[in-house]
Symmetry: C2
Subunit: 380 residues, 2 copies
């Protein structure tokens, strides 16, 4: 059996890497942004619309699919690619993060977790073995080890305990996964403690994975602390394997993380903010509900060639949000993903050219270059 | 100035007519179904998706656009076509029907109506002159006279009073409209009373309009009573002008109405039912929430080539409705409109071939051929 994933680094610029990952469902360029298709759908978008943004790989949440419709239904309908009609690559997370953030956690020990579904209160047990079995059934190209992800701030004792459990669970995940034709990534925990991160990584490398993820960031800490940890630690991850920064982030976060040597990213920000009328644009964040847009015939972003920006004016988009019409969320989600994908493409080009550092400096001096400007305050 | 609308009848078969209407924004084939783009958007669909269904003309509601964003905003943004990026033909209704069905009506007399907005309670006056002025600002290709539309059942005195007022208002509408480059249709009222219908029509023909609509049907009466009225009356409408049956209907209603000689139709049924997971298909109405679809790999309608039916299985569509994901409504609305447009196309072909009567008989014996099967019971 051929390896389920191959990774080629095509160019380096400082610590930043430009490459390509090939899976059973085609190739995607790195650094790569993966929009989130929560329960097998990118909210309010067709796969055709998602593909039009330049997206090559999407993420789906094991937690949501486990609850509804359940992995046996997805498998019975031909697996996740066929189910959601996404023919490019797919990555599923392990379900752990949503258990901690969404569910009513009833018990956690070394075996795993027992939680109540946030949908119907059903009691569900999730262990490393269950998570892998579910992800095997779903059939994504890349799957994730089941880890413990403590929110920050956390003290060193809590972080250390989570690291120990994460490593023990990673070993069980690899064992459970066996030789299924999916690439299983290990996840490094350790919060902002670089010593713990390095110790966790060393143990994971001993186990051996085709890709490594950094989990447990963007979970409460100030962005500059995350950037600093990435700058110190990301390049410690094995150089010949994909490096995935989970659940991150703003455009500014992505620039910092690529600069530190990370390759893959996912975040709900472009779609969640899109549904609320917050748009990322080349001139900064635009809040479409603002009255200033009432009579604006301008496109959302004159520098963007997405379907939204090619055809619709800000005045119309504002109207859609004012009346609560879902088409507004569709169009701005589409734009935001296109914006993110263009940003990734630009970074890949700058790495190819050896001009990433200069480009990064210009970005930091631009409209999305400070944390306050990079993302609106969006509760939930 | 050239006429804002031209109508050519290309074939006749019994009372059924097949033709084409040319407007400033292109031509559309008749009999024509116009999906409803309530406040300047077909709910959850992009104009590109709407066009993919074969739709050539859409309807927008003056009442909704009057309330939000207001006609001066639409005009300031370049008019309705540019606003909603629909480059085909558009028809706006007069606002009257929604005033009676949605608003809190405060006063009605021969001058017009005063109502409270269902959005913010604002007091708004709508008269024939205001309705026409608003529709002139919106800039649709076809606009409608402001009429009084009583719900059925109504007694002859009420119907007669509504007819008298409708005729007086129609005269004021034509006067107010002047020579604006839009086609203003008159609306015939009179309920199920054919004498009143004929008297109303005679008065409207005296005033003179480029098209005539039948209003005040599908407002509470049993479908067979509507079909019977249409069969007796539709062909009384001037033969050389488009005939528009307002707010109708189910596929079965459309077949009866085309058979009676009507040319244009609008209805929220395909989109409203689509958002609820009710699909019109070649094998009957499909309720996608039904558990029987859980593991179905079948397309929604094997006889349909729309985006939804080409790519997605019923099991996935059911999942989208189960989780409340708007993509489900998008896909099934798209399918339902495509189903309606294919039905219209088929009727045009059968009229062309002179085989409409035989085809109609087969339709009546088919899965959508009885009223109970033709539309699910869908409150609101």
């Amino acid at each position: 059996m051929s390896a389920p994933l191959s990774f080629n680094i095509l160019a380096r610029d400082g610590k930043a890497r430009r490459g390509a990952i090939t899976t059973a469902h085609g190739r995607f360029d790195t650094p790569a942004f993966m929009p989130v298709g929560t329960a097998g759908a990118l909210k309010s978008l067709t796969p055709e619309q998602v593909a039009s943004t330049g997206t090559q790989i999407v993420l789906a949440n094991t937690y949501h699919l486990l609850l509804r419709p359940g992995p046996s239904i997805v498998a019975g309908l031909g697996g996740l690619h066929r189910f959601m009609q996404w023919n490019g690559a797919i990555l599923t997370d392990s379900g752990g993060f949503q258990v901690f953030s969404l569910a009513d956690l009833r018990r956690m020990d070394d075996d795993g977790v027992v939680f109540r579904s946030h949908i119907d209160g059903a009691s569900i047990t999730l262990t490393p073995e269950v998570s892998i079995a579910v992800q095997n059934q779903l059939g994504a190209d890349i799957i994730m080890a089941f880890d413990e992800c403590p929110p920050l701030p956390a003290d060193d004792a809590a972080l250390s305990a989570a690291v120990g459990r994460t490593v023990r669970w990673a070993r069980r995940c690899k064992q459970a996964h066996g030789d299924q034709p999916q690439a299983l990534y290990g996840i490094v925990q350790g919060g902002l403690n670089i010593g713990l991160r390095r110790s966790c990584l060393a143990d994971l490398v001993d186990i051996g994975f085709p890709g490594y993820a950094i989990g447990g960031l963007s979970v409460g800490e100030p962005p500059p602390e995350m950037w600093s940890l990435l700058d110190d630690f990301a390049d410690d991850l094995p150089g010949d394997r994909p490096r995935y920064l989970m659940g991150v982030g703003t455009p500014l976060d992505l620039v910092h993380a690529v600069s530190s040597g990370m390759d893959q990213f996912d975040c709900v920000l472009p779609t969640r903010n899109g549904r609320k009328g917050y748009a990322f644009t080349s001139t900064g964040v635009v809040r479409l509900r603002n009255a200033e847009h009432r009579l604006s015939r301008e496109p959302l972003d004159a520098a963007c060639d997405c379907y939204c920006c090619r055809w619709f004016c800000r005045g119309y988009l504002r109207h859609l949000f004012q009346i609560g019409e879902t088409l507004g969320g569709t169009l701005v989600s589409l734009h935001n993903i296109a914006f993110y994908q263009r940003l990734m493409s630009r970074m890949r080009t700058e790495i190819d050219r050896g001009s990433f550092a200069a480009w990064k400096l210009a970005f930091l001096n631009g409209p999305l270059g400070c944390p306050a400007a990079a993302a609106p305050n969006h509760p939930g």
